[in-house]
């Protein structure tokens, strides 16, 4: 073989081995460092997300437990935006927790150190920057989660002190915590507790629940029930609590269960006692018993079902139909009396003179000579010379028609005389004269479209025609012309006046003769029309009247105006003047009723405006509170049910807002050794007392404030008559009032006799006997006066007269007319100032009554026995009160009274719980707490907790006005006891002025 050198296989093997080794090595990253760094950094990033999520959740937990509602006046507090202090405090807490959690992630393994960090807060000044690094936004389909973004997270890896890996990250994560949603709910609740009437919230809800109660009790009182206060603070307390519970449901989806149970029990109790209990003294005891779980009460729904007003009182939304009624009678009476004047108005055509003056020539006769000196005075004298002239004066227009016309030439001599002062003792006179020639055309025109009837052509005017020999205006033409000429100084005189610019052209009215029988012919129309006008009616909700939202007289006037044309029933063309006069009587009657209704409408308006003075309110004027409150009472808005997703639980301390003071032993959220009023209530009755003159002063029924009405006097007297008054002053006062009231009835007696005399019935003695026999059925002064004011006296006299003079009163119209006359006679007597008892007499006596009944201010301590109280209340309730909204003749259509209700409350603590969280914490729930507390956290890690802000209590604040209207009756509706009822502690609920702690 050959010895030629050859490459051994072994060498090839070595090459392959080295090559494979190279390939193997080159296929893997060289060294162990870099893959370890990447892995470690990835892990750290993942861990940092968990760290930030956990931080957000923990921070939410803490922020809810100690929410910042108002930022503190400190360096740290100033970093919070005042408008979103809660959210900023949460951002700060998240930052601090995230920073701590990230720091915990740092570790060391096999020489590699990894760290995660956020920039530190070295001093309080870095707080704002820290807050800015965290941003929050609601997330999730219902906004029940939070999107958290944290900027500036730095992740580092070091080996032997050398930086081998670094990442800056801004993690953006959605964290499942409902903190923002809960905060929003609490915010909504707070807004609703302080909303004004008309907005969704407590005030509106309170109005809605107060209306039926006030009406039920108002009617009970009106019907003579033993009700002292129509709206009492005990009811307000009850319904305010109910309304607050409903607000809890509206905001959170459910309400405090303990509060519900106390409320149900209170409600049940109130239903049993007819809402008549004066104070709910047992609320606290019950609260205690319930808390211990001893007292099992029936469910709220069951109790509420039992609570239906026992009384068949009308609801404010019931409608009532109001007719023009008495106002039509009043108009009828007056129209009938004035029927001749009304007829005459149509028979009183007018005449006027018009002149057309043209200047033909102007000549200057002489001028002023110059005398020097100063002008002292100047006057002008006019002299006219009239000569006949032929011409054609123009025709009249605009409904006036021409009676005659003529032309004249008038020469006017205008002399201007000036007086001059030349020196102290010397004066001079100069004259200048101008001669003006004018052509004057004079036209005399008349208008017979006068009187109340609507305008329209008349078929025959100046010739005979129509009923009763049809005088029409036959002789009127000449009379008119004569009258015009006589007034103007004759034909030449008129022309001269016209030329000199001094024409008085009228018009003058001239009475034309008419048949005396016209009145009898027209009168039956009036009687028929009265019946038709009486029946004109509007239908209104009682509540609309009570809240002054509907002005009934104005509505009646509007309805009557719509039908005026039909009632007047004017033809297209009047047959004759008498025909027109008869239509005029109808028109005048309708207009008279309209005027009266307009005046009543204005009085109603004044009554509405007087509200603002009667009940000074805080949240807008009383008028709009009353109107808005009534309008919004049905629009309670959404019920609960939202927030099911969140499943929030409400826990308020106290569960039931009592007006009695409570302390720590009952409500543990209240600090020890302190008591406070959770709720303070005030209700003011707008028009409580009869004798303050409000009623009459408002409606101008009286001229001066020193008098009150006979009605008030009679009612006060009526009540005092049922009391056993002490001898002496009390009886003297009563006798004084008795005399005054008796005087009023004597006046009525005289008026009645006058009516009988006008009707030509019997002689004076007979009339006196008839009236006396009618009134003697009321031997007592008070009863007699009441009969005069409520119309029964007039009815009695009417009946007596019918019995005595059946023949003279055989005709139905005569009987009807007498009835109306008598009714108005009674009214005239009442309105006569002499018939009205003086205000002090009524007031003093009614004070006497109240004192006698135990209603005097100082009588509070006196314990009157229950039976006596009930009797007293029934009597006192007969004292007149309320505002008559439509004082029609003879009677009142309705009486309105208003109550201003204010509630203010303060929850020592409110906790809203979301059932979220892991059970490692105790308690696990996210609990949002509202209470008085200063919130501090250690922002810079120096071990000292800086003041961040203030948590505040949730407070209740609502005001409303409710109105009640009752039909005509003896005493109207109103509070008897206290007009301005305030619960203890008013006006500040919450901590009793401990000084530095605010109630909010």
């Amino acid at each position: 073989m050959t010895d030629r050198a050859r490459v051994p296989f072994a060498l090839l093997g070595v090459v392959l081995l080295v090559g494979s080794g190279t390939v193997a090595v080159s296929q893997h990253p060289p060294g162990g460092g870099e893959p370890a760094v990447d892995g470690a950094m990835d892990r750290l990033t993942a861990e940092s997300h968990s760290a930030i999520r956990a931080a957000a959740r923990d921070a939410a937990h803490d922020a809810a437990r100690r929410p910042v509602i108002r930022a503190a006046n400190t360096t740290v507090g100033a970093a919070l935006d005042e408008t979103r202090a809660f959210e900023d405090a949460l951002r700060l807490r998240i930052y601090l927790a995230a920073r701590a959690n990230l720091a915990d992630l740092g570790r060391q393994r096999r020489g590699l150190t990894v760290t995660a960090a956020l920039p530190p807060i070295e001093s309080e000044r870095d707080v704002e920057a820290a807050i800015e690094r965290v941003s929050l936004a609601p997330a999730g389909p219902d906004g029940h989660k939070v999107r958290v973004r944290v900027e500036g997270v730095s992740l580092r890896a070091r080996r032997d002190g050398r930086l081998v890996g670094e990442t800056q990250a801004n993690p953006d994560l959605v964290v499942d915590t409902p903190i923002l949603a809960v905060d929003e709910r609490v915010d909504r609740f707070e807004r609703r507790l302080e909303a004004t009437v008309g907005q969704p919230g407590l005030a509106t809800r309170l109005t809605a629940v107060l209306y039926p109660i006030a009406w039920a009790r108002g009617y009970a009182q009106y019907r003579g029930g033993a009700i002292e206060n129509v709206v009492a603070n005990s009811h307000v307390t009850l319904v305010a609590n109910g309304a607050v519970l409903s607000e809890q449901r509206a905001a959170f989806g459910r309400s405090d269960p303990m509060g519900r149970r106390v409320y149900a029990t209170e409600l049940g109790e109130a239903a049993i006692t007819g809402l008549a209990a004066r104070h709910n003294v047992s609320a606290l005891d019950r609260l205690d018993r319930l808390r211990e779980g001893v007292d099992r009460v029936q469910s709220a729904a069951e109790t509420i079902e039992r609570f239906a007003p026992a009384d068949d009182a009308p609801s404010p939304s019931d409608t009532v139909t109001v007719g023009i009624n008495g106002t039509a009678d009043l108009g009828y009476l007056r129209a009938e009396r004035a029927i001749n004047e009304t007829l005459n108005a149509t028979f009183t055509p007018r005449v006027r003179v018009r002149a057309d003056v043209r200047e033909l020539e102007r000549t200057v006769v002489d001028t002023h000579e110059s005398v020097g000196g100063t002008l002292q005075s100047e006057r002008t004298r006019l002299d006219a010379t009239v000569t006949d002239r032929s011409g054609t004066p123009p025709s009249g227009a605009d409904g006036w028609h021409r009676l005659g016309g003529y032309s004249r030439t008038v020469v006017v001599r205008e002399t201007e005389v000036r007086r001059w002062d030349i020196s102290e003792n010397e004066s001079a006179t100069t004259t200048a004269t101008t001669r003006i020639r004018t052509a004057v055309d004079v036209i005399v025109e008349s208008d017979h479209g006068v009187g109340p009837a609507p305008p329209g052509p008349i078929a025959s005017v100046h010739e005979r025609g129509g009923p009763f020999d049809g005088p029409n205006l036959v002789h009127a033409e000449k009379r008119l012309l004569d009258a015009a000429l006589a007034n103007g100084g004759g034909r030449d005189g008129l022309a001269a006046s016209a030329a000199t610019g001094r024409l008085d052209g009228g018009p003058w009215s001239v009475q034309a003769p008419r048949s005396e029988r016209l009145a009898a012919w027209a009168r039956p129309d009036l009687a028929e029309l009265r019946r038709q006008v009486r029946a004109v009616a509007v239908t209104v909700e009682r509540g609309e009247v009570a809240s002054f939202r509907r002005n009934v007289p104005a509505a009646l006037a509007a309805r009557l105006r719509e039908r005026r044309e039909a009632f007047v029933d004017a033809p297209a063309v009047y047959n004759n003047v008498s025909h027109r006069a008869r239509v005029g009587v109808r028109a005048a009657y309708v207009d008279r009723v309209l005027n009266h209704l307009d005046a009543l409408a204005e009085q109603n308006e004044d009554g509405r405006e007087s509200l603002d003075d009667a009940v000074p309110t805080e949240t807008g004027d009383a008028q709009s509170l009353l109107a808005d409150g009534y309008g919004a009472r049905d629009s309670l808005g959404e019920r609960g049910g939202q927030g099911d997703e969140l499943r929030l639980a409400v826990d308020t301390s106290p569960s039931y807002l009592t007006v009695e003071p409570v302390g720590h032993e009952r409500v543990r959220a209240i600090p020890e050794n302190r008591t406070e009023h959770p709720l303070v209530v005030r209700n003011v009755n707008g028009f409580a007392l009869p004798t303050t003159g409000v009623v009459e002063a408002v409606f101008g029924l009286l001229d001066g404030p020193a008098k009150t009405s006979l009605r008030s006097g009679a009612q006060v007297l009526n009540v005092t008559g049922k009391l056993d008054l002490d001898e002496g002053e009390a009886q003297a006062r009563q006798r004084g009032l008795d005399r005054q009231v008796d005087h009023g009835t004597a006046l009525a007696r005289a008026e009645f006799e006058g009516v009988l005399a006008d009707a030509d019935l019997g002689d004076a003695d007979e009339r006196e006997t008839v009236v006396a026999s009618a009134l003697d059925q009321w031997p007592r002064t008070a009863a007699r006066a009441t009969a005069v004011t409520n119309g029964s006296a007039a009815e009695a006299v009417h009946a007596a007269a019918l019995g005595r003079w059946p023949g003279a009163l055989g005709e139905q119209r005569a009987r009807e007319r007498l009835a109306i006359e008598l009714r108005f006679a009674a009214r005239a007597a009442r309105e006569d100032e002499g018939a009205q008892p003086s205000l002090p007499a009524v007031n003093e006596t009614s004070d006497l009554v109240r004192a006698g009944l135990g209603y005097a201010a100082e009588a509070g301590q006196e314990r009157v026995e229950a039976v006596a109280r009930r009797r007293a209340a029934r009597l006192a309730a007969r004292l007149p009160s309320g505002v008559p909204v439509l004082p029609g003749p003879g009677t009142y259509y309705a009486t309105v009274n208003v109550w201003q209700v204010q509630v203010r409350g303060s929850y020592a603590r409110v906790v809203i719980r979301a059932r979220r969280g892991a059970p490692d914490r105790a308690p696990p729930d996210l609990a949002y707490v509202r209470e008085i507390r200063t919130v501090r956290i250690d922002v810079d890690g120096d071990g000292h907790r800086e003041r961040l802000g203030q948590n505040r209590r949730l407070s209740v604040r609502a005001e409303t006005v409710v109105g009640v209207a009752v039909p005509p009756g003896a005493q109207g509706v109103g509070d008897v006891d206290e007009r301005d009822e305030r619960s203890p502690g008013w006006p500040e609920p919450g901590p009793v002025a401990a000084g530095n702690v605010s109630a909010r």
Binding site: S50, A54, D104, D920, A922
Partner: protein, 273 residues
């Protein structure tokens, strides 16, 4: 001679080639920890929402259900904190419902991995402390098979303890005090918080926790009820921890360096077969 050397040469060649093949083949296998790492990262980044009913040891529901949310790692960490024991006595009596729910939820995540997995979350204020919490999900890891391992750290709502300052101030007792403070603030509620209303489920739960602590620490119920019992429990816990720290560490500073109250370690192990 030539023949011999040729045989030798070829033999050496073949040997070298097979070594080269081995060199190329062996490193091509996966790095052992990759799957455990992936699982750990999934647990740390995916979130879950669990609904649970607090149940007692008797399995009876104590309250209406509640939900908890977080990443799986967070929930596991909190699971560990709900199963605390002190010297073998359980401290959180009604938290089983929560752990069952988290366990199920985590198991669904682990089911996606083709390997078999064990996840163990442990809370201890310091290594080997007598007070600890543990929560294990998945299978028990075998000792005979190679496993890939990854470790995670997640925060729990126990405030991180400034142990070094506490040690400087009050020695072992300072460290123990800081730990006890922090833990009780979480498990019994903040010290300044008002207790839940008597009779409420929250109050009963709190009462059970108090009794559990008292039992583990041999503290008698105060005459005026558990509401006033917290200081005694805290004192006893501080005593217990102080004694243990003193036994275990050479100095308060050494003890402080090991304190990890605000976090839970989660160890993920995966293996095949």
């Amino acid at each position: 001679m030539r023949g011999v050397s040729t045989v030798l040469d070829v033999s050496v060649f073949l040997l070298l080639v097979s070594v080269a093949v081995a060199t190329l083949a062996v490193p091509a296998a996966d790095p052992p920890n990759a799957t455990a790492d992936e699982t750990a990262e999934t647990l740390a980044t995916t979130t879950a929402n669990v609904s649970y009913v607090p149940v007692g040891a008797d399995g009876e529901a104590r309250e209406p259900s509640r939900t908890a949310a977080g990443t799986h790692a967070e929930l596991l960490g909190r699971g560990a904190l709900t199963d605390l024991e002190l010297d073998g006595t359980a401290l959180a009596p009604t938290t089983g419902g929560f752990r069952a729910a988290v366990g199920e939820e985590t198991a669904t995540v682990l089911a996606w991995s083709s390997d078999r997995t064990s996840v163990v979350a442990t809370w201890a204020p310091y290594p080997e402390a007598p007070l600890r919490g543990r929560f294990a999900v998945g299978e028990r890891s075998p000792e005979t098979v190679d496993v890939s391992t990854a470790t995670l750290t997640v925060p729990v709502p126990v405030e991180s303890v400034a142990a070094r300052e506490a040690a400087a101030e009050d020695g072992y007792r300072g460290v123990a005090h800081a730990i006890a403070d922090s833990l009780l603030a979480t498990t019994l509620g903040p010290e300044d918080a008002t207790l839940p209303d008597p009779g409420s489920p929250a109050r009963r739960d709190w009462q059970r926790r108090m009794r559990a602590y008292a039992g583990a620490l041999d503290v008698a119920e105060p005459a005026d009820g558990w509401a006033a019992g917290r200081p005694a429990i805290e004192r006893a816990l501080v005593e217990r921890l102080t004694a243990d720290l003193r036994d275990r560490y050479s100095s308060p500073a050494a003890a402080a360096a090991e304190v990890r109250a605000g976090q839970v370690q989660i160890v993920v192990r995966e293996w095949s077969g």
